[in-house]
């Protein structure tokens, strides 16, 4: 990787990821589709090429190609009220062609409901329509603050059951030594991902937070690989270097406000949402993403791995959600919060109002909610978005003024 930037490597890595999966398919090797925070360790150990429909749907959205897929799904009876990633992917499963790039048809699917229960229904439909095996990792919702032993045991047992299922599907013995290695790399990758994201704590932040959205595709698909790990290490170093020089997120323009973004990006309107923020000097320095893929455990510790896959914030209770964001406000010295009320994601949405109230109560940091969607371009209004951002700027400015007065 001589002299290449992490951004260049990122592009190459993603190209290789998709090309590799297509080639594997052509060679008659098994290809899996999996949800974004799946225990890929087991699949990587088995050498199964795995692609991620959420990544792919996001790419289709970002390339402004989602509408044709959404129309197709809705034409086949899918409600416009369900997750748009699902609507895009279930259409892609039939169409198998997009300008945004292609993924091969799966031979098996792996679903982990730590991100939502909606994926169970979505993946059931794939399994049924394509008549292929499905492995479900059922991660119970943590209504208690900590991950209970009962939940941990259940998840761990499912890892072992899945290994048997994989042995049956592949007709191969599971290599536990290889698992050890993959577990080690996966944890290291997660650590570098988080460390890179933490560089944005510097003021000004060397990270333009929208890059998190770009790099996210890689943490999803390359977490179990050395090249993924090395990429994030390089990104960490690059950001560290920038921070040392006191460089901000942009070549032109100053970082005036630091905010976090709650929820998934509006992929079809990525550029618009970004430009509006930049116009006002707002840098999105963090989101709930860095922690979602911070899947860290001791090598060979399946209990730890079980806990790690149950720890992402959407699978945690509301108290945890509030503590989590409060900590982000402090760690990243945030001036404001943008909550994306994402029409696709009821699990994120229906706790947002209460989280917003509680975080504001605790931190005093102002926030706004805007309506949007992760991939359905119809569910977003640029005018509403900009009005909300303007309101946020006014509130952040007023707060800064108040704080300055208090200091005097």
């Amino acid at each position: 990787m001589d002299n290449k930037t992490s951004k260049q490597l990122l592009g190459e890595l993603l190209d290789r990821h998709y090309a590799g999966a297509m080639q594997a398919k052509q060679e008659g090797k098994l290809v899996a589709w999996a949800t974004s925070i799946s225990p890929q360790e087991l699949l990587t150990t088995m050498g199964i090429h795995t692609v991620y429909p959420e990544n792919h749907a996001a790419a289709i959205g970002a390339r402004k190609c989602a509408q044709e897929f959404i129309d197709y799904s809705e034409g086949h009876g899918y409600s416009s009220d369900i997750c748009s990633y699902a609507r895009v992917n279930l259409a892609y499963m039939d169409i198998l062609n997009s300008e945004a790039g292609n993924i091969p048809k799966p031979d098996l699917i792996v679903c982990c409901n730590n991100i939502c229960n909606t994926v169970i229904k979505w993946y059931e439909n794939i399994a049924k329509e394509l008549d292929i095996p499905m492995i479900l990792f059922d991660i119970p919702f943590n209504h208690e603050y900590e991950i209970s032993e009962q939940n941990t045991n259940y998840i761990k047992k499912q890892f072992l059951e899945a290994i048997l299922q994989l042995e049956q599907i592949t007709n191969q013995k599971f290599d536990y030594d290889k698992l050890t290695e993959v577990m080690k790399i996966s944890t290291e990758t997660s650590i570098w991902w988080k460390k890179a994201a933490l560089q944005a704590r510097a003021v000004p932040s060397p990270l333009n937070g929208f890059d998190l959205f770009n790099y996210m595709a890689t943490i999803v698909c390359a977490r179990g690989t050395k090249e993924g790990r090395d990429l994030f290490k390089l990104w960490y170093e690059e950001l560290g270097e920038k921070a040392k020089q006191g460089a901000g997120p942009w070549r032109e323009g100053q970082e005036l406000y630091r905010v976090m973004w709650d929820g998934i990006a509006c992929w079809p309107h990525l550029a618009d949402t970004y430009k509006v923020l930049k116009k006002y000097g707002i840098n999105m320095v963090t989101s709930t993403y860095p922690d979602s893929w911070y899947i860290v455990y001791d090598t060979d510790d399946l209990d730890g791995m079980a806990r790690a896959y149950s720890s992402n914030y959407v699978n945690r209770n509301l108290d945890f959600g509030v503590d989590n964001i409060t900590k982000l406000v402090e760690d990243y010295r945030l001036d404001g919060i943008i909550y994306h009320s994402n029409r696709s994601c009821k699990l994120m949405d229906f706790r947002q109002y209460e989280v917003q109230r509680r975080v504001e109560e605790r931190t005093g940091v102002p926030s706004v909610v805007f309506d949007g969607d992760q991939t359905d371009p119809r569910a977003f209004s640029l005018a509403q978005y900009e009005t909300r951002i303007q309101a946020l700027v006014e509130m952040m400015e007023a707060r800064k003024y108040r704080e300055a007065e208090d200091h005097e």
């Binding site: 899918y78 369900i82 439909n125 919702f141 949405d349």
Partner: protein
């Protein structure tokens, strides 16, 4: 015959007036009540602890209190439950078991903990890998955990005998209901869609033993009656629920008879009976493992469509009506698969979108009229 009709009307009224029925059931049994969220709550545990399990299936309640917690695209049953809770309707409950079958329910659980600290909430999670050894064990542990919380509320342990008696009581209720739905399918004149629904729903608000006895009397009477011959077309309802009840009036208006249902609120409550083998909790966990064709429980085979085809055959039905509660994701995912299967089998299928608090039924009326005409 008159006596049977009287009991039927009594249960119909009990099902249509939850508040009054619950009050009466509590007074007659001397029991305190515990609310049970859909879809499957461990009512047997509640019953064994000496409480009255009350089904919490929303209602026509409108309001704006829930807007503080929920966006507009939340399903009407969870909105209604939240409105009812925030307006104090559930303050008479000694506890509420909250379940998390879908993403909305997970959030409801969390919001309620914040918004209603005075209520005794018992959150629980049903395993989705419910057939695997890991899932069965988790289900048993979860039942045991909830049992301990109920024991705390009761102020004493639940004995294995009490629990076994409760599971047996529910087996009896379920077996009785299976018999009832079979017999009811022969009586389109007696069991209009609305009445059938209310009679079945009454079980949610009554002591199961008392309810089952009444149902047995109805069955006894129905067995002596000749099947009725009418000009109704026979349909099967599938979905979470078929409310508001006014929609069911429209079925009758269009001479559509509910020959059977595959509704979570109705037949799915009693379509599977616990096996006899094992401890009470093992039997309960096995029952969940066996509950197939329900969108709220993982089913890679997607066996709901097959179940509907079987029901159609068994009940000599003419068509299926898919009752889609708006914003109910799991059902929304099932529909395209069912649609495809029904088209392939050339079974007429109508999809209607419902909200518990809908005011205008004009569009549904037109669609039902059109559908009834096609079936002619």
């Amino acid at each position: 015959m008159n006596k049977i009709l009287q009991i039927i009307r009594q249960l119909e009224s009990a099902g249509e007036n939850p508040k009054e029925t619950i009050r009466k059931s509590m007074a007659q049994s001397g029991k305190k009540a515990i609310g049970c969220f859909p879809i499957y709550a461990p009512e047997e545990l509640v019953y064994s602890a000496g409480f009255l399990p009350i089904g919490m299936w929303g209602g026509p309640k409108n309001g704006t209190l829930s807007d503080r917690y929920l966006q507009t695209f939340c399903c009407s049953i969870m909105k209604a439950n939240t409105e009812l809770a925030l307006s104090g309707s559930y303050d008479m409950l000694s506890g509420i078991i909250l379940t998390a079958y879908c993403d909305t329910m997970k959030c409801i659980m969390e919001n309620w903990k914040m918004a209603l600290p005075h209520l005794r909430l018992i959150p629980m999670v049903y395993p989705q890998n419910r057939k695997a050894a890991s899932g069965v064990a988790f289900m048993e542990e979860e039942f045991t955990r909830v049992k301990a919380q109920l024991e705390e509320l009761r102020g004493g342990q639940i004995t294995e005998q009490e629990l076994t008696e409760a599971v047996d009581c529910y087996d009896d209720y379920r077996r009785t209901m299976q018999q009832f739905t079979k017999l009811a399918s022969r009586h389109p004149a007696i069991f209009t869609a609305r009445r059938r629904h209310a009679v079945i729903k009454a079980a949610s608000f009554m002591d199961k033993r008392v309810y089952t006895e009444k149902m047995k009397q109805i069955i006894c009477g129905l067995e002596k009656l000749e099947p009725e011959v009418t000009d109704h077309k026979r349909v099967i309802l599938t979905g979470l629920m078929a409310e508001p009840a006014e929609v069911l009036d429209l079925l009758e208006e269009n001479r559509l008879f509910v020959a059977a249902d595959d509704l979570a609120q109705e037949t799915r409550q009693f379509s599977v009976i616990a096996p006899k083998k094992g401890s009470a909790i093992e039997r309960m966990a096995q029952r969940i493992a066996m509950q197939d064709g329900c969108t709220f429980l993982y089913d890679a085979e997607k066996s709901r469509g097959i179940r509907l085809m079987e029901l159609k055959k068994q009940y000599n039905a003419d068509a299926i009506i898919f009752c889609q509660l708006k914003f109910c994701d799991p059902d929304e995912f099932d529909y395209p698969i069912i649609k495809k299967q029904m088209e392939a089998a050339e079974i007429p299928l109508l999809h209607i979108e419902l909200e518990q608090q809908m005011e205008s039924l004009g569009q549904i009326r037109t669609r039902l009229q059109g559908f009834a005409e096609i079936l002619e």
